[in-house]
């Protein structure tokens, strides 16, 4: 009997596959293709206290084995999310994680206080968005700055708190330890890699912000190494993110120490990606005679 359930910070996920923030909207578009109750969980598009239109100019650029994005946290704002999107999400039988971003610590705190009043299952603190001018990734590079943000949020947060780390952290293990020390119940890593592309005929950067976030299969080996290092160092669950395209990638992350994973870019390439990955994991476990993920977690 195969059991893919995983308990993270007291929240039970029916399987380890979580749709990654910013790649799954608020679930509605994908619910037209498969019942999203199949998902272990869903992390919402990054939310900010106030509505954001996002960035101007090119927002998506394809590169070998990856895509670069500079969406800039386009979102309706926390209040509109709670009013217009959350009722639909709450009606789905899956774990709902609110991904929260902010320009200032105060914004994070107010957003989290608002979400405390809702039926959100978990909060994912985004201290790693590379595409906004203030806040975002600047909180995610230095361990002591991240520690302060997480400490302030932890004081008010009544939900399980997951912190999403940037691969731009000066030292990913120190960053992870610092966030756990400040009260993170779980860590998700990694966000996109700040990257650059240039249009040589226009002789200009492709993106108005010059740099943009790189995701997709090209980042997987680096992200996997970071998940491996962090999961060895901390004693909270680690959620692996980066370039997962199929169930084999998920198994690699679990073997590297992840408790669960987030699937991002793959959703853009196939709206049924998460559903197919979940089936693939079950088939793999069946074939290998493995009954729980715990048996292979962190074996590397």
């Amino acid at each position: 009997m195969i059991d893919t359930k995983v308990n993270i910070a007291g929240v039970e996920f029916k399987n380890p596959v979580i749709a990654a923030s910013g790649t799954f909207g608020f679930g509605r578009e994908f619910s037209e293709y498969f019942p999203i109750s199949k998902l272990g969980g869903l992390s919402t598009k990054g939310l900010t206290l106030r509505q954001r239109e996002g960035n101007k100019g090119v927002r998506i650029h394809e590169t070998t084995g990856g895509i670069m994005n500079s969406i800039g946290l386009q979102n309706p704002g926390i209040d509109a999310f709670i009013e217009e999107e959350l009722p639909f999400l709450n009606s789905q039988d899956t774990v709902i994680i609110a991904n929260v971003s902010g320009n200032t610590i105060e914004e994070y705190v107010i957003s989290v206080e608002k979400l405390n009043q809702t039926e959100i299952d978990m909060i994912e603190l985004n201290i790693s968005c590379p595409n906004v001018k203030e806040g975002g990734i600047s909180f995610g590079t230095k361990a002591e700055i991240a520690n302060n943000v997480v400490t302030q949020v932890r004081k008010v947060c009544k939900k399980p708190l997951m912190v999403k780390l940037s691969p731009s952290a000066e030292n990913i293990v120190e960053m992870a330890e610092s966030c756990v020390e400040a009260g993170a119940d779980a860590l998700s890593l990694v966000n996109t890699f700040p990257a650059l592309a240039i249009d040589i005929s226009k002789k200009k950067a492709i993106f108005d912000n010059i740099t943009a976030g790189l995701s997709g299969p090209c980042i997987k080996p680096i992200a996997l190494r970071m998940v491996y290092e962090v999961s060895k160092a901390v004693d909270v669950p680690v959620i692996g993110i980066g370039g997962i395209m199929d169930y084999r990638d998920v198994i690699e992350y679990i073997m590297a120490g992840a408790w669960a994973v987030q699937v991002g870019t793959a959703n853009f390439i196939n709206p049924n990606a998460c559903a197919e990955i979940i089936e693939g994991i079950e088939e793999y476990l069946q074939k290998e005679g493995i009954s729980t993920l715990e048996e292979i977690r962190g074996i590397i």
Binding site: G25, E29, E32, E53, G57, R59, I60, T265, P271, N272
Partner: protein, 246 residues
């Protein structure tokens, strides 16, 4: 539930002008294959390039879907190599098409490969149509369009066929009750400007997109009514809603 990517057979893939291809695929489906202005995401490769490519529906004839594309990069270069019986994966139909319940005299104005959705639109509209088609030099698909329209106006930039210049030079909005346009952004901008206070105009917008189904927000554009996704709320918008200058 909507169907995800499905494998289809290629019926033909023909170069009809330099770097312009007509791709026909066979799809067995009980559902509609789509309306004018809707599009499909296409891929004939595994994970390289990573993303699929969006193409407007150029025609639907029973179970055969036609797309037109111009070879501009790696994706369209791969597509151009496909032969009959080769496999293709398609997702769609996607987006919202043109409003077909219009009456009176209609103008369709296309620029270059933007002609693709205009061809299917000409076939589906049940009213008087004048077709304005602008090309760089080579002219294509005009014989097919002829049977669905009252009059065809052609311009080429080199003057080799029709009038020399841009299609927006000869389009006269005051003659029409409604206009539809698809083509390069500066062309559509000009059409919208010319139509102001004369005729309502609908534009089919183009934008780089990753998913084609509303998730990535890569194709979002600013409109008078807030941010809209070209792939989901569009690709067809009212001309006065959109901004062409960023």
């Amino acid at each position: 539930m909507k169907e995800g990517y499905r494998g289809v057979d290629i019926s033909s893939n023909t170069e009809i002008a330099k770097d312009i291809f007509e791709l026909k695929v066979q799809i067995e489906s009980n559902d509609s294959l789509g309306d004018p202005g809707q599009f499909y995401m296409l891929r004939s490769w595994d994970l390289d390039p990573l993303l699929s490519r969006p193409f407007s529906i150029c025609n639907v004839e029973e179970s055969v879907l036609t797309f037109l594309y111009k070879v501009v990069g790696r994706g369209t270069n791969y597509l151009s190599k496909l032969k009959p019986k080769d496999k293709l994966k398609v997702l769609g139909p996607l987006g919202n098409g043109f409003n077909l319940s219009v009456s009176g005299k209609v103008a369709l104005i296309s620029g270059g490969i933007g002609i693709a959705p205009m061809i299917y639109l000409a076939k589906k509209l049940n009213t008087g149509i004048d077709f304005y088609a602008g090309f760089t030099n080579e002219v294509y698909y005009m014989d097919y369009v002829q049977k669905y329209v009252d009059k065809i106006y052609i311009t080429t930039e080199d003057g080799s066929t029709g009038q020399k210049g841009f299609i927006t030079d000869i389009f006269k909005p005051e003659k029409y009750d409604v206009a539809f346009t698809c083509g390069p952004s500066p062309m559509m901008k000009k059409v919208v400007e010319k139509c102001e206070n004369k005729a309502p105009v609908f534009v089919s917008m183009e934008s780089v997109m990753a998913c084609g189904m509303g998730a990535c927000l890569g194709c979002s554009i600013k409109t008078k009514f807030g941010m809209k996704r070209v792939c989901k709320e569009g690709p067809v918008f009212k001309g006065e809603e959109v901004f062409f200058d960023d």
